[in-house]
Symmetry: C2
């Protein structure tokens, strides 16, 4: 396809991420349409020059003219949408998404999709603790990672286009992973950390915590403000990988607890040294 | 005593925190002496106007003229220092500290101390992932919490002076807690979070983690760069409170794990909603 600005781009689901995609791409000169449930969001996006055209219903004309469609929907809504409306798609259209889990979604969508269109999955690893198109901001992509997760059904051209999309959006690191490897990684770096943050907030019901905390607690719980509807769906769709990550973490945490309880200072210090070395490498990047 | 700039202040242990105290107080016009092991640190501090006078040995003259002494030492070194050198202290001197645990230290120091001097304990809840006087910076106190932990042996005047010291240093929130309550709080907001960060770093030995992470993982592991010598000592000195905090966290984490495994979405969502509400209150501050 090649992503030149003559292409019509449609964004389905105009929230924080969909809106940020729209802002980034429209600044590059693309014509952006959007379909989203709430009239207010369309009005806001039109008034603020975030999109060129918007509607609240899956209009066959709007869908039928799009060469690139970006789905920023909850996973189950995405599947339902394809089921109901894929007959409107333009032959040759390229579909991509922003879904946070891949194994449970990508093969399912690709298996049900018309053979004359292609779905190439991607995960923009960016977000904020606020929601909606009004909070959208393409700068959340700067410094962030973008992962394309092709399967054997995907063409090289689609993979290239999707990588190019990540670069156009302003992501600092664009890469390719299998859906399985992606989910394993995401179970660890994203879902596990959210489980930890949530548990940290729910485990203490004490008074005036905020008067006594340092930055550590603030940092570890920043992501404890969480969209329960979306994240519970994502957790369940990635259950095995997330359970595996939780168990890996638990094993180390229990080891540290046991060494503290028994006064085994050397085990504690060894863990701290490993941790420090690994985190130092991390900061160099 | 009243903290006016005619008072001689001595800082024992010129590292990141001791150096930051020196910078903040000297800018206010106090005369600052320092005793620290390493000649290089003294030279650096003199050359950069961080202190007025410094030495590497516990000089009786230097100790004997100080009206306020701030100890920024490892806990066991602090206890040894008092044992060896308290005979040099000026009658009426006020001693304070920056130690991260209190129960194991405060009563011990107060019990061994000469009756004509007073030790009032405090914990400046500020730090960085770098060490040494060369990295000292009084701005780390801005926005941070400072906790004074008096016992029945302390005078009201000393508590007031110590609170005033916290305000002079630039802390945003200055408060009073018992040593026991302090240790319980610190076990939760600081030590538990460090245990989590360390376990997160040690539990995964995978490749190229940094290419795929979002901000969540970075935030949760920032404090995984940790001085193993100091933190293992602090953990062991606060063993019971920290074990209790670890167990509280574990109970919630296991609950989340069980609800994920069994597909009990409502329990997951309830935890996420509680977490979100509590963290939102937190951000308002």
């Amino acid at each position: 396809m090649m992503l030149d600005t003559s292409k019509n781009i449609l964004i389905v689901g105009l929230g924080l991420i969909g809106g940020s995609y729209a802002k980034a791409l429209r600044k590059l000169g693309f014509k952006i349409s959007a379909i989203t449930l709430d009239r207010e969001d369309i009005d806001y996006a039109l008034e603020n020059g975030i999109i060129d055209f918007g509607c609240t219903e899956p209009d066959p004309k709007v869908i039928g003219r799009a060469e690139l469609i970006i789905f920023a929907l909850y996973p189950h809504v995405f599947v339902e949408w394809i089921d109901k409306y894929q007959s409107y798609l333009k032959p040759g259209a390229l579909l991509t998404d922003v879904t946070g889990v891949k194994g449970a979604i990508v093969e399912k969508i690709q298996a049900m999709l018309r053979p004359d269109v292609e779905f190439i999955a991607a995960h923009p690893m960016a977000g904020r603790e606020v929601y909606g198109v009004k909070n959208s901001d393409e700068r959340i992509f700067h410094g962030a990672n973008y992962i394309v997760t092709p399967t054997s059904r995907n063409t090289d051209a689609a993979v290239e286009d999707c990588l190019e999309l990540g670069r156009l959006l302003g992501f600092s690191h664009v890469s390719v992973l299998t859906p399985e490897k992606h989910d394993e990684m995401i179970g660890f770096v994203s879902q596990l950390t959210h489980c930890i943050a949530v548990s940290l907030m729910t485990c203490y019901d004490g008074e005036k915590l905020q008067d006594y905390t340092g930055d550590s607690f603030r940092d570890l719980t920043r992501i404890a403000r969480i969209n329960d509807d979306m994240w519970s769906e994502l957790f369940l769709l990635n259950r095995d990988a997330l359970l595996d990550s939780m168990d890996k973490f638990l094993a180390e945490f229990m080891k540290l607890r046991a060494s503290l309880e028994s006064g085994d200072r050397e085990t504690m210090r060894t863990m701290m040294r490993v941790s420090t070395e690994r985190r130092a490498l991390f900061d160099k990047k």
